[in-house]
Symmetry: T
Subunit: 67 residues, 12 copies
């Protein structure tokens, strides 16, 4: 038997979508033990003065619960 | 870089949907620091004796994580 | 054991969305016994001459079946 | 034969969701002729200091095209 | 007024889907007070050597928040 | 030519999801003639004191209309 | 104030999808007063011996309720 | 590099769904240059006196933007 | 016990949507034995010079597997 | 690097949904090498004479491709 | 009060998905004033001779309307 | 007339999402003739020891059928 939780994380980067995914996983792993993966739910950009200011990724992060 | 979490809150009011949204934001802000917004996911009413007994709103509440 | 039916009701009001929900619950309760609640499925407005003429709400109304 | 267009409008109010719907219909009717209605697509709130700062509604606005 | 939270739990059993639901509710109730119900979001199986190795259920678990 | 109706039924059992499906089909067949099948739309459990109190299934039941 | 119901009808024709829509509206209008429209929800064909045997359309039929 | 826009058009015909699609494409091509295609989003009928009064199709029309 | 597979087929016709459905069923039946039906998933048109050049239908085709 | 395919299987049992899942996995494993799991997409029952005649499950079956 | 419009843009690049997003934002900003962001709706590739010929991104671009 | 099939491929890379798309297209083109494109359905990461171990992309790959 394994029981895991899934929580939504939103991460923002000024470089790229994949950097945002990395930032979100890094930050989640500082607080949550046993992170096993994430499913990308949404991708957005903010625009300022006609060019992309930031990349935002919302993801569903899974982590295993201790018994 | 900003990392936020998104969590689902269900709030119930006997007055109106907007009062339910307010109650949910109030309650969430007591426990969670850095609440920035909420997206309304579902609206329901319960009915008793032919008239509305309560208004329920489920919403996805975002709050920024400290570093 | 409890068995309920769920039926879609569309109600229109010239006042507000919540008045439309109330009108729909009132009308449904005149015909159906045992209404227990409703889930809001859609909200629409009709517009005439640049301002809102009516508020329409579609909702899934639940009512318990007698044995 | 009737041909209409449907365009997404996002309107923000500091009072209520219904005020936001009204603001959006008002603004759309200033630019677009023949607005006939709108379908509510999303409802959001922004939160500041633990209470609601604004109500945002995204809606699909329909308007009839002249021949 | 009642305010509840809804969180996603993923539970795995080598017996059946309903055993997975039971395991997930058991585990959630050890950590969370006031669990009132769960909505089944996804059902999956893993397969090994041509037969089912485990049953996984993802569910949205609701629990009431204390004031 | 065949014309059928599809109606949503919600059935609750304290034993299992499949018992709930059976209860719902039994109850629907008492009122509706010509039931041909059902599509499972939602599965939920209610929880009381940390264990499952009831299994609820919402299903779309089809039945053929007489000419 | 107007209150309408919306019910799902499934109609089958051996000619075409549009004939199926017509059959379903005809049959619904025999039983239900005040049918105002229908929204096409699903289109299916059955195949027998490599060619189409029937066209099936599921539609959400709206009809106004008398006061 | 190619950049296109996608806009929603709703077209109504008293003959058939395909006539409605044709009417919508004709009307869109009068105003928009470079229409390349359309995706059917919704199909509806209005009913009057028990038979179909009009066929409505909502479609997402794509057209290429000039540089 | 019956086991079937469901596969997505995309068929294009310069005549109509129903001709596209027929072409797709014909072609699928040449390769696959035991085709029993299809569910229409998407309908699209391509446009050239302001009028419809082709009708495309994506459908989920079911066929029974031999033992 | 791993590449897998995902294919939809529909399986029918006269016993239960879980027996249908088992039948489908058994049958898929006879033809496809490297089946790793399945995601339950739909659950249906057929009804005859007022009681359940068969349980049908549609599932998305994954299997690893050889290099 | 702020009112914005949201319009769908489809952009194609032969380099990468993120280049396509950039091209689309650049092109949109040439025509539309006040672009504030975009939500990624779809990602596609076209393939020619066994390798990727272009990356296409459909996105919902928001821009603020002047009063 | 053109008839195509659409099949779901899941590809995994330890470098990036775009490398996973490329790997999947490469592998699909080895087995399937006439691949014309792919639509990205899902993006996931697996995490190990707090950082991303692999990037997984599920995509719907289209390929033209020979007559």
């Amino acid at each position: 038997m394994t029981v895991a939780r899934v929580t939504e994380i939103s991460a923002t980067s000024d470089k790229s979508f994949e950097d945002a995914v990395n930032q979100g996983i890094d930050r989640a792993s500082k607080t949550l033990r046993g992170v096993t993966g994430a499913w990308i739910k949404e991708q957005k950009v903010t625009v300022s003065g006609g060019s992309i200011a930031s990349y935002q990724v919302n993801m569903m992060v899974s982590f295993v619960l201790d018994d």
